[in-house]
């Protein structure tokens, strides 16, 4: 239970950065940390005590393996998060080029 709770704290650390920081790169870092926490959650939910990794090897009895499905889901989630992060960095750099800053309090063409 402690393990799950620590993972939830990690998620909150990332969420804090997204909600509170006023710098685009810091917000992206917050999002990345949130994604770490979620991937770790998936793997923790699938872990079986004293389990084996989900790989067969020749000439060996199959004993208790950890849950392979969350690992597959986390793989998908990692790649999708990479895609969103890359897109965000692209937008952020383009904004830096136009405005000369990463500070979102100074980027205020739009109101409301």
């Amino acid at each position: 239970m402690l393990t799950y709770f620590l993972c939830l704290i990690l998620f909150c650390v990332g969420l804090y950065a997204v909600l509170r920081k006023r710098n685009i790169i810091k917000m992206i870092i917050g999002i990345v940390i949130c994604e770490y926490a979620i991937n770790l959650f998936l793997i923790l939910f699938g872990y079986r005590m004293n389990g084996r990794s989900p790989l067969y090897s020749p000439n060996q009895e199959i004993t208790s393996m950890v849950d392979p499905l969350p690992q597959a889901l986390a793989m998908t989630a990692i790649v999708i998060s990479l895609a969103t992060t890359a897109l965000l960095v692209g937008i952020a750099l383009r904004i830096y080029e136009k405005y000369g800053t990463f500070d979102i309090t100074k980027i205020n063409k739009l109101k409301g």
Partner: protein, 150 residues
């Protein structure tokens, strides 16, 4: 090659020696995705990272000469189209995405039906995305940001 671009001679020499091994390792990971840990995603990125090493050692001009932008987006579309084609060919097995190739013997390289082929398609996509990351970095940093007051 221009000696003035990129890093020092030692790094360039080592890079030239290493890059082949990194590429080979990436290809190994891709092709053995259904037998050992790894697969198309990881292997594709490893191949792309070898190019990043190349860029860091030799500078931007060299890599832009070898891998132009058009080729990257061509590879990207080709990888995606190939994966979709594998999926559509599954109709031969009766269903979208069915695994219709012969399954082979377990623990051999040519086994598990369409999985190795899909791995290759995914690897193409990943390689191009990795290269694309380089492109992102290169093109954007050519812009000079406007001067700040402070």
């Amino acid at each position: 090659m221009n000696q003035n671009n990129g890093m020092s001679l030692i790094i360039k020499t080592i890079t030239r020696l290493l890059i082949g091994f990194i590429l080979l390792y990436g290809i190994y990971i891709v092709l053995h995705g259904h037998i050992s840990p790894g697969g198309g995603f990881a292997g594709g990125f490893i191949i792309a990272l070898s190019y990043i090493l190349f860029m860091l050692a030799f500078g931007k001009e060299e890599i832009l000469k070898r891998v132009p932008e058009g080729m990257i987006s061509f590879l990207e579309s080709l990888g995606a189209l190939m994966f979709l084609a594998i999926a559509v060919l599954g109709f031969f097995g009766g269903y979208f995405f069915s695994n219709w190739l012969p399954k082979g013997i377990p623990f051999k390289l040519l086994s598990a039906g369409t999985i190795p082929v899909s791995n290759v398609a995914l690897a193409l996509l990943e390689v191009s995305l990795g290269l694309f990351g380089i492109f992102l970095v290169l093109v954007l940093l050519k812009f000079t940001p406007p001067k700040k007051e402070k």
